[in-house]
Amino acid sequence: MGCLEDLLYRSRVIAEDLQFQGPKAWKAAQPHRKVLGHFQVYFPEEIAHAAGMLPIKIVGGGNKLEARRADAHLGSFICSIMRSTLELGLSGRLSFLDMMVTHPICDAARHLAGIWTRTFPNQPAQILYLPQNPNSKAAVKYLYHEYQRLQRDIEQIAGHSISEEDLRKSIALYNENRSLLRELYNLRKESPWLLSASESFVIVKAGTILPKEEHNQLLREILSLLPERNAKPQDKVRVVFVGAFCELPPIEMIETMEEMCYVVDDDFLIGLRWLTEDVSCEGDPLWNLAAAYIEHSTWASTQYDCHKPKEKMLECQVRAARAQGAICAAAKFCEPGVDDQIAYAKHFDSAGVSYILVEFEEKQTSFERLKMQTETFAEAILFE
């Protein structure tokens, strides 16, 4: 076991690795190994893992990648994460992928599989249709069939079939991962001075490309060391950050907010925490995964659910985290994000929840305006 600072440094190195050295090394270790890339937000990684593949989450390139080639392929009104994801492909960084799966989470991302097919014809790309009517009684059954279809496609790439036992083992592994992530987030809510949001962010982000077994080990080690960390509470405002369900804020942006605030809850990489309870390992594992997506899941701007109005879900999240306000962000050109910002604002005006609206881009490098916004916001709360 390393020391906490070493583990945090390692997490950051992995999280910022735009060369995907880890997945490439994993693949090169054995000749039959395959890697599946999937775009934001949620993907049932268990199915790929059960096939012996390494599922990795493709989350754009952040502010260290210049989208020089991708600009010729996308209009000026397309968000940064689409642009940088395509740039990752065009620059050859993702040439090791054996399969790419995207989701119609928004009207830009729904084109990604088509763009990928045209641009990288040797990498099979497809769309996974997660239900947009989870309120239908038929949604679980539909998703079960969709997962069966996906499983068949994955088996074809992997070159062998997946047994129910394989799937149960993978579900158990991922249950542990989700449980550890819940523990990490609970710790932040209880003792935010022990782990900052930016540190938490890189720890979770490392899980986008690490094999789950390794990520679980990393999480276990970090969680065992955190209670002993030499840190004291500061007089900071407790806030919840929302709006990063797909495009991720630059780490410097999170650090800027943290100068004045404890970000005690957020939706960074929410897809990795989409399932809120353990998935049952009894019975049909694929059915259990489908049922969990519908029945035991969180919320995001990209998913309609009449039982989960976004503004009320966020208010519950703010109150559950004992937060004093919310930073309601939206990525530039992100329609689900900008549409929900207005819902939060109107609702919070009447519900008496303090908030600010923020726009960001993953490629952003200047945070002066944000700094001024959060300082004013935090001071307004502190002197209320």
Partner: protein, 431 residues
Amino acid sequence: MSQTVQYSPLDKVRSEARRSMEAWFARLGQAEEKREPVANVFVMGNCLELLQVFDVHMVFPEILALQTAVRKVSLDYIHAAEGWGMSTDACNYVKADVGMALKGMQHPGGKIPKPSLAIGSNICLVFTKWAEIWERLHKCPAFILDIPLGRAHSRPYVPGSSQYEADKEYVLAQLWELVELLGKITGKRFDPTKLAEAEAHTNRAMNAWRGILEINQNTPALYDALADGVVLLGMINIARGTKEGADFFEMALEEFKRGAEQHYGVLPHEKFRLLFHGVACYPAMRRFQAMFHGWNSVFVTSPYLTFACGGFVGDFLFDTSKPMESLAELTLRCNHLAHQAMYFTDEFLFNRALMEKFHIDGIVFHAVKSCRTVSTSHANTREFLSRHHRLPCLYLESDHVDPRYFSEAQIKNRVDAFFEALTQKKFHGRE
């Protein structure tokens, strides 16, 4: 070379369409007063035939929004929505609609009733976000019809396959749930005979609609698929599933056939035949069109005429002996077909048969800033088609509602450069 003739098939088509549109507005104007149920629906994934069974008025906010642009008042509505807090990056159809709600549902065409129900779909994610906005603004229930679309490029989607049957079962189950909701809202019972009647009207309209799309293979083209196409699109939406709609499209087809017999051409000296991909530039329809007509070019076909009518253009017809199942099947297959052409664009566009049948010289992509559903693939497809298939392509950006994004001089420069190159290629064999 076309002959100059006095007769134009478009005269009757346009005047009948205008009359129908006015009647639609008049019905909407009375709906609230009569306390009749109203549903907000979209031009894709809308189950119009089912709504007719329950005598529900249909409001098409996309059509209303584009009309504000055509009538040059969209910016007033957009400003109202932005003043209310909506982002400059949000879809301008939505902003025009929200602006209308903030202005007391006053539209240039008349007073629009508030919805009793909002029917969104996954086909455009903005539809679901828009439905959420209506839930909050109008306090009406929203129903999201989830239609699984194409999963991958060139993947067959055939009845009987496990994927197809699973998708159909899901759509059918949702339609029955919608029937239950409509029964609650209207107090009426579901009548399968009435649904079959509506579907029979749609079958007639669709047969004629297909004929109209195909007849523009004629040289010279009988109508402009953009400027005249949007008139036809309006009708296929507001009158689908009705006898009036079926009669209109059969009349229109007859008019175009008559026009073809008389060697009518929408342009007197047709020189270039183009395919238009995207949504129309409604804030500057005439100026946009004039840039192309000025070069004696005509848009002979467009996927816009496919997806914006819900895709009812394949070889599909309702089986009126099993109306609900058939509705599920066509909703699925038609939207699947229409959207395959949008997301896996090259599969549709690089179709030699299509290009040859319509004698297409080039493709124009009109990317709309606030419509990522239609526009996201444009630049990539342009790059793909130009590079791999040497198809002349022009890529333009503006908006479908917001005039602030229409930069006339910039667009004209690009259009002129495109035609100069196209002239060299077509008439001088130079690339």
